[in-house]
Subunit: 395 residues, 4 copies
């Protein structure tokens, strides 16, 4: 029996006990006079997480996928042209959504392991003198390959081309874990989900849009209702919602935001970097490659590890699960069998990752990898000993 | 201080402790080999709740409103004609959604306090010899007015006109509380939410569609992605989801279904009727009217009580909340000030409702109603003493 | 099925959700450097609850019975003489403990329904010129009969006789619900349990002793170990315990104390009085007697109701439980069949008690009592409407 | 910040989520007709854990220390002679209790790191032809030194001397983790606590006594009340208790017993041995000694690790706590600074211990130990890979 399974996928993440407690509440009247005392500060505090003064956050009882749809259908018109690069399963899915929702979707297919191709985007935007492209979409952190892209660079490219397109970013596996600066980077729509850096269960799409996006919204004729900004704007301003919100998750979000601010956002980012560095040291000690082709693409929330050619990553994953009770992230679609992913996002620490790396090693060895037991762990330990302690940090 | 606030709104409902416990789980890998052991039985058991053999259930991380949208956008084509009657805030909102999504919406405006106008529908359907109407929509239980409509009658009217339109039903505040028979009544799409008869928090849209609806789905060109049946069908059959599901709510749903089946669905319905009868006896003893104009419209899940003309229902609600710590449902839109609603849905018992009626009496009296304290409670007690005990009942 | 059973016994009481949440914690190292941050403030805050500056509180993983034993065995010597009055099952049990532990126990048998007989005590103490009596024991609130005694009066009697005996008080069902003033009343040992006014589950004996009692402790030769003050004194001063403490309950105690202080102790007492007044109004309207013979004995935490002679209280209790899912307190030993008890201690409000009174009425009528349904509830409502709102109160 | 602290002390142990959920219950009436449905099976199932047919289990709201006292004060008479060996802090404390309770206590002082000295006991018992010794006490698992003693051997020694003394065993850190056979070994009193192998929080003393001990009880005149068997025997037989029990812990015990039986007791023992073997392999790879002098004393629930002479174990413990957020067990009294303890008792798995060993390594190295990072982890991994998987095991 395994009373304490290990969860090292890039979301849902390991919810802190304080957040679990906060969600374990009796139901509440979402129309009560007291309800805005909970909700209004949530909206205000989400802006701090997104690093925006002027942005407008929205909270939907939904998932990150719903957040993608909310941003698109509220700001664009049917058939509008969008530009997106694909370099992993989640950017592929967002591009697929654009197509299925009927947008004219220009897709730049990038080698998996790299991120948003700034130069190609620069060329395309420069060429689009008619400004047909209404939105440029970027995946801040591609969860399938462990690749973080340069969102500030996307803004520079847009500015360089003097292009008015909206800039939409998928931050599902980056927000509250990797630095993101909505205002400074001129992002017009950012999408997050509750089950990643917010350290909550799945169930909330948390997005934020710029004033420019809200202006676009006013002329958007896309058919929508559940995700309609207009209903949210009308009710949210007083602390209410157009339909019944997922109150326990809102109570959990309150606790999660408190934890994030208590630690300090910059400390949270540093902690993710510290933990990730140890994981990368281990992978390197194993003599294995990350999917991320260059250090500049390294993700601090998930590492996609390429197994040796004669090892089946599916078997490694299954071994870890069946024999050691640990879940790692699988290689998605074309990466199946070639890659397994170690999630190090949300409420993690060294103890957890060292255990996870130990198990990964055993599962790799059990499946035929020529790796010395303890080698990756030792490298991670060295990295952790050398780094600064992350536990004592508070804002 | 009030450590045990009272919640007597028609949803979210008072979650049983067993369900709360079941939801308090660590996060899980939604791609693990074990995950289908949780999910596949949920789909099978939901069919029992909807009383269908051939229907196809779907579970979305969303709300009832999302369920409305899912049924419409997956089965209809842009501009299709739908027929709906409005007789309360929630039927009004569903009609509004139809219009905003671009469907040609024929609205029959019915006096609030009545339900689906079968004769009018019969006339309209008979006249629609071209079969322009692609879907007929009905609100099984109008939560705003406490009115239950005759869904079997809607089927009869369609059959009498030999009309091929799909029959869609909003069962958000009826499913798992008031008898509903999908197959027998020939319903093509039924929409429920987790936070009512399922005794869970908000966060799941639970719907079920007929084979006929799935056939319509295959020719539906409505732009959609988050709510797309096709993605769900492809993944659900193996117990997985196209995007991260709200696992704690699925664990809660397991517990909730176990409780419903342990009690027995027919016993659950009888319990709701028993509890509601006591509430109606109290209202009658107060000399007040229900919004529901006739006994045939009486809802067993919510009673909308008309306050005396010289009393302000808003003040009654506020008094109950501020002074006695009890939330009742407010009068929505045009009913504001005229009506307050007593929710008696989900996990209720006599103890709870007698307390609620006692507080309602005090709040009414405090706000000027000429009502004898104890009068409504006494009537409810008589009703409860005369009825059959609901506690010992099990399937 | 009954998803929300009613609990109206005089303890364990209905634990507030905030306290339940606070207890749902992972286990902790009771020797960690951080542990005193939890424990030292608990000791300090308990002194506020007991209204003492100089007292020494102790927390045992035990029950109120253990607290009784702790006070006796730590301060007396084998064979010492104690004086106690019995007027209900719990004072009888404490006297029985004194005898079984080998103390010379002078028992004043008082009619059940009355409390500590101050005049008799005065006579006995005056006659004890040799000061053989080493401790005088009093039950502040006799839970079996709903009788509150005059502890300040006991002090006066001792002082009038200029008698040096220690004054020990059983406050299990009074502390944190009914005013108690350790220093002002010169109490040398007070015993409480977690599951009453502290609104926690059973599991902690919470006691406090005076400097005089600690002095007696130093010359006490009673064989003891588990309850030994000396081990607690040595370790508690640094925030630790001589053996593993029940940490979740300590976390719960933190939350409970926070709630008590947030409301304000005087407001907590007033709330209990307000709620109890409504219950007493109901009993009076039923034409029934309380066990408490005179208003001066009325307990604000529990009411023992005498059923009519032709009604069997055992059947009333069983009816309430089987048919309505509500637990009331039974008549203990000689009161069995004659009395049922309504607990109104801890986290209660008007909503709860009105429901409980409604059910009590139904159960009484079902068992043959000639009582008008609604009559008691109406009287309680009148009492509650006339009283001051207790909800908004905070310190 | 550290949202998931590590707890690797030999109790309290890491409570499984299923047990935590089971304890999170509303309070219950401990006199309700339904209560025995919970309690009677608990008593029956505890006998399975103790491997007894004829024994009598008791459950006290207390701690293991209270269990020690219960066994002694219920079966012996004041001044009775007992025989006990001391070889660690917990055997020392039990011997101390014997002395403080006034028993004539013959203490055999054994080198710490060894266990019950069977030969010395044999000599003493053989010499006691007058049978002055009424009870022989043994610590099955000395938590301070990680030493497991041979209880079967104690029985053999008693039988060889044909000595009628009662055999009492402290099984606080062995029961439900290391094999124990009450009937086969002729144990007359066994003491356990909830917070170890039962995987619960502290709060219950769980003991079991033989028919012979109950016979001794009938002639025991020791003054007692809270721990008196006689009150428990009278009430337990119907499923009730003489004073309010700690119901949430009883609910947790139900869940814990279910988990133990689902896994199978022998599988639980094998799992502890498997996990402990890895820890011992790591200590060996570090070149360090265990306190347990020989393999026959090795404990499967806790390993006491001797740090190198030039390293301060107090600093190691503090480093692990402050820098890595992990609690190990400290060296108690004379072992302070020389030893740190790794608890591997209760709901553990390889993932957890590999993380713990990784952190122990880092803390040792940080404090100056000449140990290669990863060396101990590698040894533990080898041990775990070679062993049989413990996860799939069920009864």
């Amino acid at each position: 029996m395994n009373h304490h399974p290990g969860l090292f996928i890039p979301g849902p993440t390991n919810v802190p006990d304080a957040v679990r407690r906060a969600m374990n509440v009796p139901q509440e009247d979402m129309r009560s006079p007291d309800f805005p005392k909970l909700t209004l500060p949530l909206f205000a505090d989400l802006k701090k997480v997104f690093k925006t003064q002027r942005g407008q956050p929205f909270i939907y009882p939904s998932s990150g996928t719903g957040g993608w749809e909310a941003v698109l259908t509220n700001t664009l018109n049917p058939g509008d042209k969008v530009l997106i690069a694909t370099f992993g399963q989640f950017s592929v899915l967002w591009a697929d959504m654009c197509q299925r929702l009927g947008f004219t979707t220009e897709i730049v297919d990038v080698e998996w392991g790299k991120g948003v191709p700034l130069e190609t985007f620069a060329d395309i935007l420069a060429a689009d003198t008619a400004h047909d492209i209404k939105a440029v979409l970027g995946t801040h952190n591609e969860t399938a390959t462990g690749v973080t892209s340069d969102v500030a660079g996307m803004r520079k490219v847009l500015d360089a081309a003097d292009h008015p397109a909206l800039l939409f970013v998928d931050g599902v596996s980056s927000i509250a874990s990797i630095d993101f600066r909505m205002d400074e980077w001129g992002v017009d729509g950012i999408v997050a989900g509750s089950q990643k850096g917010f350290m909550l269960p799945t169930g909330l799409a948390i997005i934020c849009v710029s004033e420019k996006a809200l202006e676009a919204h006013r002329s958007s004729k896309f058919p929508r209702c559940f995700f309609a900004f207009e209903d949210m704007l009308r009710t949210n301003k007083d602390g209410y919602f157009p339909y019944t919100p997922a109150t326990p998750l809102l109570r959990g979000l309150r606790a999660s935001l408190d934890l994030l601010f208590e630690e300090g956002l910059e400390n949270v980012f540093a902690r993710h970097r510290h933990i990730a560095s140890g994981v990368r040291a281990a992978v390197s000690a194993w003599g294995l490659d990350l999917m991320a082709k260059e250090p500049k693409w390294h993700s601090d929330t998930v590492s996609a590890v390429c197994v040796p050619p004669d090892v089946d990553a599916v078997k490694v994953l299954r071994r870890a699960f069946d024999r050691y009770g640990v879940s790692f992230g699988s290689g998605l679609t074309r990466l199946s069998g070639k890659v397994f992913r170690i999630g190090h996002i949300g409420a993690t620490n060294e103890l957890m990752l060292l255990g996870a790396l130990s198990v990964a090693e055993m599962a790799l060895v059990d499946c035929g990898a020529k790796i010395a037991l303890g080698s990756g762990v030792a490298a991670a330990q060295s990295s952790y000993c050398a780094g600064e302690s992350v536990l004592a940090k508070a804002a």
